[in-house]
Each structure stands twice: as C-alpha cells, then as structure tokens.
C-alpha cells in the first residue's frame, strides 16, 4: 500500500468513527432521560412461558422430528459385532455365480501368479 491509500484509509476511519459524535445535533445528548431508560410493562407469566419455553421447545421438536425421519431411511448401520446374515451380492460378477463357482476346476483354483492382499477387522 502506498502512502496515499494509507492516508485515505486513515481519514475514512477517523470520519466514520468520530463522525456521528461530531454531527451532534441534540439526538445523542447523553444527559437527561433517554429512550429505553425506563423498563416497560413487562410480560405476564403466560407470555413468559410461551416465549421462552414453548416456542423454542416447538422449534426443537420440529428439527428433531425432521432429523429422526431422515435417519431411518438408510437402514440400520453396520456394526462389526452384530454380524451379517444378508445374501451375498456380487458386483460386476459372472452372469451365473453359483454355476461359475462350481465349474472352477481344481487346477484353475491353484493358478499361479495371482496377487493381492488380505486383512481382517
């Protein structure tokens, strides 16, 4: 930043913060009674209850209800301890898996040159 923009920024900051004080025309008079200095009529017990308990409670229930409705859609989550009893699904597998597996000869299964890795959890 060059000197000119620095000066411009400084001048703007001073004007914006001090300006309202300098533009005193009686509105910002700090002596004497002010708006909002005296308390209002207050809320009745019912209004207090409604405003601070019922309305937030209602909002919470609506949000919670929406979340609860969303949660059920994807089904129960997988937990390793719970086990698995679903039918196996083979993505991009042979057209007829049972036949294909049964037709694998003994020497085919021992085909050398296969690689890969194993793991458990």
């Amino acid at each position: 930043m060059n000197r000119r923009s620095c000066l411009t920024a400084a001048a703007l900051t001073v004007l914006l913060t001090a300006g309202p004080a300098l533009a005193a025309d009686g509105k910002y008079d700090m002596d004497g009674p002010q708006e909002g200095g005296e308390p209002g009529p207050g809320l009745s017990a019912l209004e207090t209850l409604a405003l601070y308990v019922l309305v937030p409670g209602l909002i919470l229930l609506v949000i919670g209800g929406l979340a609860w409705l969303q949660g059920g859609r994807s089904g129960p989550r997988y937990r390793p301890a719970r086990g698995w009893d679903a039918t196996p699904v083979w993505f991009a597998g042979p057209p007829n898996p049972t036949e294909a597996v049964a037709s694998v000869g003994a020497d085919e299964a021992a085909l050398a040159g296969r690689g890969g890795a194993s793991g458990s959890w």
Binding site: V89, A92, P97, A117
Partner: protein
C-alpha cells in the same frame, strides 16, 4: 437385470447393504472400467466354508470363477460377518496393481469397516486401486451389473 434389481431391493429388507450403498459401489466399478480400463469386481457377503482357514483359497476360487476375465481382473471380497477383506489380482494385472497397493487398499478397507462404513470403505479401495493402475483404454460396460446368489465356496 430386472431380477437382479428386485433382489437388490430385497437386500434392504433383509438387512444387507442399503440400495444407495450398492449404487455407489456399482458407480465406482463402472467409472473404473470406463476411465482406467480396469476390470474390478466386488463381492460383499460371507463365504460358506467348511474350513474357515481356507478363506483365501475360497476367495481365489471366486476369482477363477470370473472365467476369461480372471487373467486381468481384480476381485475385492468383503465378508462383513466373518470380518475379512481380500483383494485378488489376476496375473495379467499384477504389474498395474502391485501387491503393496492391494495391501494399502485392504488396510483402508478394514479401518473403514471397523468404524461401520462398508460402502465408503469399498469405494475408497476401488479408487485407490484405480489410481495406482493408471489410465488405459476404456473397457465396455458389463451387461449384467449385479447378481445376488447363495455362494458356496467349498474346498475338498
């Protein structure tokens, strides 16, 4: 394909993978075929084995069951009940997808599965393997994308 889709709907009722999760895996497989020219197949389900120690051998049988595809195919097997994950690479694809890449993919899968995320773990593993394999000419999409069957991998 229609019976496959009906069975896919039944998966949700039986407590298997939700349909959305199955779709994510299917999309990842198709993307890998198209963009990396890599044949990836994924099996999610337990194997019915007489001898639990023959799990790896059973998985290799499944890989051989891919028939003519087996030479250049990568098979990922996830058994959520038996809690085992396996990757098998055919001889023709071992240079593109070395064993260390498979080991990393299995590690990320088992970490995800331990935290309860089945489809996310599978999709991430497919992406890792696809990235390692690099881009090649696209493979044609398979006609039958998903099958559900009682698989029996037995050993004599």
């Amino acid at each position: 394909m229609a019976p496959g889709k009906e069975k896919a709907q039944a998966q949700l009722v039986e407590g298997g993978l939700p349909v959305r999760a199955q779709q994510r895996i299917q999309d990842a497989i198709e993307t890998t075929r198209r963009e990396n020219g890599l044949d990836v197949s994924v099996l999610v389900g337990d194997l019915a084995l007489d001898d639990p120690s023959q799990f790896r051998a059973g998985v290799e049988r499944l890989h051989a069951a891919l028939g003519s595809r087996a030479h250049t195919a990568v098979l990922i097997v996830v058994a959520p009940g038996q809690r085992r994950a396996e990757v098998v690479t055919g001889p023709g694809v071992r240079r593109r997808v070395p064993d260390r890449v498979c080991a990393l993919a299995v590690l990320s899968m088992t970490t995800a599965f331990g935290g309860g995320d089945l489809s996310g773990g599978v999709v991430d593993a497919i992406r890792q393997i696809a990235d390692a394999a690099g881009r090649r000419e696209s493979l044609a999409p398979l006609e039958q994308s998903m099958t559900s069957a009682e698989l029996v991998a037995q050993h004599h």
